[in-house]
């Protein structure tokens, strides 16, 4: 199995928010997350972004 780069990983994480990922893609992500703290954070932050944007606009 080909290992993902961080760039490929973030792209796949983003697509995972828009379409159902294939089994092989999900496995590849897990493998990458296992050793990459940066991508784990980026993934969490993209999901957080979704939640925040849903709650827009600012209550002022």
């Amino acid at each position: 199995m080909k290992l993902l780069s961080c760039k490929e990983t973030t792209r796949l994480v983003s697509q995972g928010l828009d379409r159902e990922l294939a089994f092989a893609e999900r496995v590849a992500l897990r493998v990458h997350f296992a050793y990459c703290l940066g991508c784990r954070r980026a993934s969490r932050q993209m999901k957080f972004l979704r939640q925040a944007v849903r709650e827009l606009p600012a209550r002022t």
């Binding site: 780069s5 961080c6 760039k7 490929e8 973030t10 792209r11 983003s14 697509q15 928010l17 828009d18 379409r19 703290l37 940066g38 991508c39 954070r41 980026a42 969490r44 932050q45 993209m46 957080f48 972004l49 979704r50 939640q51 925040a52 944007v53 849903r54 709650e55 827009l56 606009p57 600012a58 209550r59 002022t60």
Partner: protein
């Protein structure tokens, strides 16, 4: 039910908020003005359907959302494609090395849930959204704020799913970076 004039005054008081909301998604001041005007007229005509509901702002935002989607559809059909011209790629590439590793590893975000309690945070988020190229911002807001499926967005805007994913990826990465710099990294 409040007197008609009273209702009109309450609606008018919300106009600045509505304009900001529409601009964020339409990225065109004139289109935002028109859309808010349409929503306010629809609200005046539909006052009876508001009767008894608790929150005028929520009700009005619901009306405006529909008008915004209509406006985006109209824009997409216009032969002048200025707002739809493609924008510069490249910013994402700067985040990674040639081999695709982070140039700078993303930092942890302290207390993101706490940020969601602060009006200031949403202001920062709005400012980051305003910096996105307009088409990217529109697609992103249709997806993440209004909750459309990518399939629907592609169809309405006549773009391919692959292009749609690329725009959404760019939007997320750019916003993540922007919030890191303007909020979480401070």
């Amino acid at each position: 039910m409040p007197a008609p004039d009273d209702f009109r005054t309450q609606l008018e008081a919300l106009r600045p908020y509505l304009l900001r909301y529409a601009s964020l998604q339409l990225r065109d001041a004139a289109a935002a003005e028109d859309t808010v005007q349409e929503a306010l007229l629809a609200a005046l005509a539909g006052e009876a359907s508001f009767a008894g509901r608790a929150n005028l702002r929520t009700w009005l935002t619901g009306i405006l959302k529909h008008k915004i989607v209509d406006a985006i559809r109209r824009q997409a059909r216009e032969p002048v494609v200025s707002a739809y011209a493609d924008e510069e790629p490249g910013e994402i590439d700067e985040l990674f090395s040639e081999r695709g590793h982070w140039n700078e590893r993303p930092a942890a975000w302290g207390d993101p849930d706490g940020a969601l309690e602060q009006a200031q945070f949403f202001r920062a988020l709005e400012r980051c959204l305003e910096r996105l190229p307009s088409r990217t911002a529109q697609v992103f807001m249709l997806r993440e704020h209004l909750g459309f499926e990518t399939g629907e967005i592609c169809k309405e805007l006549s773009i391919t799913p692959t292009h749609c994913w690329v725009l959404l990826y760019r939007a997320r990465m750019t916003l993540r970076e922007c919030l890191q710099q303007t909020w979480f990294g401070k």
